[in-house]
Symmetry: C2
Subunit: 518 residues, 2 copies
C-alpha cells in the first residue's frame, strides 16, 4: 500500500513536471513541444491543434511538425493569468495532451501585436500608437549571419519600424552556389527543381524565425511576404499548386502567428504570378483569416492588376503605385475609397541603379514620404544605392533616412489620433486635427508668403495659434515670432484677425505647423 | 358552311388586327397597351410582364399601370426581324395576350443603348464610340415647357451628350406654390406630406418620359438619378421605406428601361440619405440589374461615404471628389483600382454663387476636364452662374463649354479606342495610344520647351512623328514645322534623333499632340 502511494506520488510529480511550464509574458510565445513518430510522412495527414483557454477567451492554433520527431503548438496569450490547453490530433500520440501555464505582465517594450485604430491608423494591443515608417529588405533573412547582424544594427539606428521581407528568397544563382549559397530551402530537396513539396525543411523556417525575433527585439514589425513571383521558371516556388500554396500558408501561420510583430503580406507583386487569379488570393486570404488566431494585419502587394482592397479580409491597403505619392491629396482619396489604413508600400527607391524604380534622389524620396503622411497615410522606404539594402540589408547610405526620422519625430509628436487630412475635398496639402493642429506641406512650390487661412471645421473666433516653419530637407523647425488670432472670413474659413501672413523662404520642401495655444 | 367559313375568316382578321402592330425600329420602343379593371388599387398586387422572343433571344420586361384602366409593357428590341410576345399576369384580363411585331432597321442617329467598350470606355450598341461629355441639369425636367424647350435648344448647341438629371425634384417651396408650382408629383396626394405611396401618379412620369425622349432626339444620354436626399424632412421622398424604394425603382424600370438613352444613377450624394446603408443600395442595384432587361449603365453618386464601386453590379464609377481632378494622374489610378470606366461626375461647377462648390472659373473647369480625359476618364460639367443651368437648365453663359467642345473634338478625332494613359505609373500627364498618338497636357505649368521624349512601349527607332501645340484655352492647334524621328535613349524611352525640343509659349493650359506619320 505504501509502495503504491509512493508510486502514485511519483507519477503525479511526473505528470505535473511533464506539463509544468515556465510563465510566459503577455504577447510572448508559449510553445508546446510534443514528441511523436507517426507512420509515414510526418507533414502529411497529421492534424494537430491545441485549444487554449483562460475561461473567458479560447484560441485553437494549429501545430506544426518541426523535424526530428517533434511537433509544436505555439500560442500568444493576450491576457495575464492562468491558461490551460488540450491538444487535438488525429494521431493518438499527439491527442489529448493537457496542461497549463501562467501568463505574466509584458516586459518593457512589449506592446503586443498591432491593431487598427481610428479606421486609418494603428496601435499596439496595449493602445500605444504605432505609426508605420517602413523600409524594404526583401532578402535580408537569407544573408550571412554577419550581414544580418549588421542589418539589425542599421535598423536599430534608423527611423524604420516595419520591414517588408520575403519569407522565401527569389531565385538567384548566388543562392545556389558560391559564398552566398543557401544551406536551407523551404522544402526538402535540392535546387533548382528537385523539391518534395510534401516535406517542409524546418531548419529553413527556424532561421527565418530567428530573423523575426531579432526584429521584434528592436521594435520592428516583420511585414512577412508569403508568396513572390520571382523564380522565372527555376525553383518553382511561385508555380506550386493551389494545394501546396494553402499548405505553405498554414505552415507559415502555425509557425509565425504567435510572433507579435508579424504582419501578413500575402504576396509581393501578386499579379506577376500568372496562374493565380483574384479568387485564388481570396482563398488564401481566407486561410490566413481562419488560421491566424490573433488577426494580425493582412494585405497584398500589387503589380499591374490591383487586388480589390475593399474585400473584408484585407485589413489595410498595401499599394504599389508610384504616381500616387508624386502629387498631394491622393492618399486622402484612397482613405475615403477604402476606409482602411493606406500604406504606400512601394514608392520607388532612393538609389542609382539602372532600373528606373531605383533612381530616386533623397529629396524626391523625402517628398514622397511627406505627400503620403500629409494625406493621412503611411509610406515605405527602400534604398537601391549600388544595389544594396533593398535586397540584402546591410548599411543605409542614402540621404532620405535622416529626413524620414525627422518626419517621424513630427508625426509622433503630433495629434495622438494620427494625422488626418483636413478638408480633403478642397485642400490638397493639409493634415492634422481640426481646431488644434495643422501641418501644411508646400512640396516643390517655392512659396514666399502664406496668408493665414484655415478651413472652418472646429474653429472659433478668438482662437490663437502659434506657427513654426519646418524645413523638411534641412530638418529645422523655426518658431514664427508672432501668434495668430483667428476671425471668421466666410462660411468656409478663418483668417488671422490682423490679416497677417507667414513669410516663407521661397524654396522647395517647406512646411508649416500651426498649433493652437489659446 | 359558307357562313361559317366567312365568320372564321372575319374572326381571324380581327385576331390579326387586334394584335397587329406597327413596325418598330431597332432600339426603338414597342409598347403593348392593355385595358383592364382589376378590383382594388391597380398599382398593388397586380403582376404583369411580357415575354418577347425572336426565337433566339428572350426578354421579359415588367409592365406598369399607366392610369385610366390602361396597363403597358414596353420593350426595346435589339435585333431586326419578327418578335412575338405573350403576357403573364396574375390577373386573368392581363394574362395570355399574344401577338407579334416586326423590328426594322434603326433610323439615322439611332445607335442603340450605350455599352462598355475596352474596359474603360463606351460605345453604342452599333459599335459607334460614345465619349461621355456630361453636364448637370438636376431639375430641368420640372420646369416650364418653354424653359425645357430652351434647355434642349442649348444642349443641342453644346458639347454635352450626357445630362445628370433627377427623376424626382428636390423639395422646394417654389414647386409647391407660385408660377413654378408642380402640377404633378410622383405619387397621388398633395404636398407637403399627404402622399399615398401605394399610388404612383402616371402623369408625372409621362412628363419625365417626354424629357427623356427630347434628350434622345438630340443624342443626349439621360443619366437618370432615381433617389436624392433633398427633402429636408418635408416631402419625404427621401425617407420612404425600403419597400417603397424598391417599388419606385421597379416602376421606373418598367417605364424607362426601354428608352435607349437611359443610364441609371441610383442616387445623388447617396450617403446623405442617412437611413439607407450600403447594403440597402446593394439591394437596389440588384433590383435594377434584375429588372432592366437591357443592362443600361448603372452607378451611384457619392457624398462623404463612398459606395464601393468595385461591386459587380456597378458598371462604372460616378465619383464626386473634387481634388481627384485638381491634380493629374488620379483618374488613371482610379481606372487601375476599379478596372471600369471612370466618370468624374461632380468636379465643382463653373459659377459665381456663394457656395464654394459653384465658384470655378471657366479656365479651372477646363483644366479639370483636361486632367480627367488625360487620365483616361470622363468628366461632367455644371454651371452655377447666377444660380442657373445646374438646377433649371435654360441657357449656358460660362466660358468653359466652348473649351469643352474643343476638347471633345480632340478626343473624338483621337484614337478610336479612346484615350488611355501612357505609362501611368511614371507619367502623370500623358494619354493616347502607344506607338501612334500622344496627348501631353501641361496644365498650369508655364513650359517653354519640351525635349521630345516618349515612353518606349510600342516605339521603334526610325518612327516619325508630327507635333501640334494645342492651346486648350484659346482653342488653337499649331503644327510644329519640323517632324521628329525617334531613336532609343535607354530601356525606357525614345527621343528625337537630332535631340530636338519643342518650343512652347510658356503659359498655362498648353498641350502637345504627337501623331505618328511614318
Amino acid at each position: 500500500m505504501k509502495d503504491r502511494i509512493i508510486w502514485a506520488a511519483i507519477l503525479w510529480c511526473f505528470a505535473i513536471l511533464a506539463n509544468a511550464h515556465e510563465p510566459v509574458e503577455k504577447w510572448g510565445i508559449f510553445e508546446l513541444r510534443l514528441e511523436a513518430q507517426p507512420p509515414g510522412n510526418p507533414f502529411v495527414g497529421i492534424s494537430l491543434s491545441a485549444t487554449f483557454t483562460n475561461g473567458t477567451e479560447t484560441y485553437s492554433p494549429e501545430g506544426f511538425y518541426d523535424g526530428n520527431g517533434v511537433y509544436k503548438v505555439r500560442f500568444m496569450p493576450g491576457t495575464e493569468g492562468t491558461w490551460t490547453y488540450e491538444t487535438l490530433s488525429n494521431f493518438a500520440g499527439l491527442n489529448g495532451h493537457k496542461g497549463e501555464f501562467v501568463c505574466v505582465a509584458p516586459s518593457a517594450g512589449n506592446h503586443g501585436p498591432v491593431r487598427i485604430r481610428n479606421t486609418y491608423h494603428f496601435a499596439y494591443a496595449d493602445s500605444t500608437p504605432y505609426y508605420p515608417f517602413g523600409t524594404t529588405i526583401y532578402e535580408w533573412a537569407f544573408q550571412s549571419d554577419e550581414r544580418k547582424k549588421q542589418t539589425i544594427e542599421t535598423l536599430k539606428n534608423s527611423p524604420f519600424n516595419k520591414a517588408r521581407m520575403l519569407a522565401v528568397p527569389p531565385f538567384g544563382d548566388r543562392y545556389q552556389s558560391g559564398p552566398d549559397s543557401l544551406h536551407h530551402f523551404p522544402y526538402e530537396g535540392t535546387p533548382p527543381q528537385n523539391w518534395d513539396f510534401s516535406c517542409f525543411n524546418p531548419e529553413f523556417f527556424r532561421e527565418l524565425e530567428k530573423c523575426v525575433t531579432d526584429l521584434q527585439e528592436i521594435g520592428v514589425i516583420a511585414d512577412l511576404i508569403l508568396f513572390r513571383p520571382y523564380d522565372h521558371g527555376r525553383w518553382g516556388f511561385d508555380t506550386m499548386t493551389p494545394e501546396c500554396n494553402e499548405q505553405f500558408t498554414r505552415y507559415m501561420i502555425a509557425r509565425f502567428a504567435a510572433f507579435r510583430n508579424i504582419w501578413w503580406s500575402l504576396c509581393n507583386e501578386n499579379s506577376f504570378i500568372r496562374h493565380l487569379t483574384d479568387e485564388d488570393w481570396d482563398h488564401l486570404f481566407q486561410i490566413v483569416e481562419t488560421y491566424d488566431p490573433y488577426g494580425h494585419m493582412r494585405s497584398i502587394h500589387n503589380a499591374g492588376r490591383i487586388y480589390d482592397y475593399s474585400k473584408p479580409w484585407v485589413t489595410h491597403v498595401s499599394l504599389q503605385y508610384y504616381n500616387a505619392v508624386r502629387v498631394p491629396g491622393v492618399s486622402a482619396l484612397l482613405r475615403d475609397l477604402y476606409r482602411k489604413p493606406i500604406l504606400q508600400d512601394e514608392i520607388n527607391y532612393e538609389g542609382n541603379v539602372s532600373r528606373r524604380w531605383g533612381q530616386l534622389s533623397g529629396d524626391e524620396m523625402t517628398y514622397r514620404f511627406w505627400n503620403t503622411y500629409i494625406g493621412g497615410a503611411y509610406a515605405t522606404h527602400g534604398e537601391a544605392i549600388e544595389g544594396g539594402w533593398l535586397s540584402n540589408g546591410g548599411l543605409l547610405t542614402g540621404t532620405s533616412p535622416a529626413r524620414i526620422a525627422f518626419l517621424r519625430g513630427i508625426v509622433e509628436s503630433g495629434p495622438a489620433e494620427g494625422l488626418n487630412p483636413i478638408d480633403q475635398y478642397y485642400e490638397l496639402n493639409m493634415a492634422g486635427k481640426p481646431g488644434e493642429y495643422y501641418l501644411i506641406y508646400f512640396g516643390k512650390e517655392n512659396i514666399r508668403e502664406w496668408p493665414v487661412k484655415l478651413p472652418d471645421n472646429e474653429l472659433e473666433e478668438g482662437m490663437v495659434f502659434q506657427a513654426e516653419i519646418i524645413d523638411t530637407w534641412n530638418m529645422t523647425i523655426t518658431l514664427v515670432k508672432h501668434t495668430f488670432q483667428l476671425k471668421k472670413l466666410d462660411n468656409y474659413s478663418f483668417v488671422d484677425e490682423k490679416g497677417q501672413s507667414i513669410q516663407l523662404p521661397g524654396k522647395p520642401y517647406q512646411a508649416l505647423r500651426l498649433t493652437r495655444i489659446e
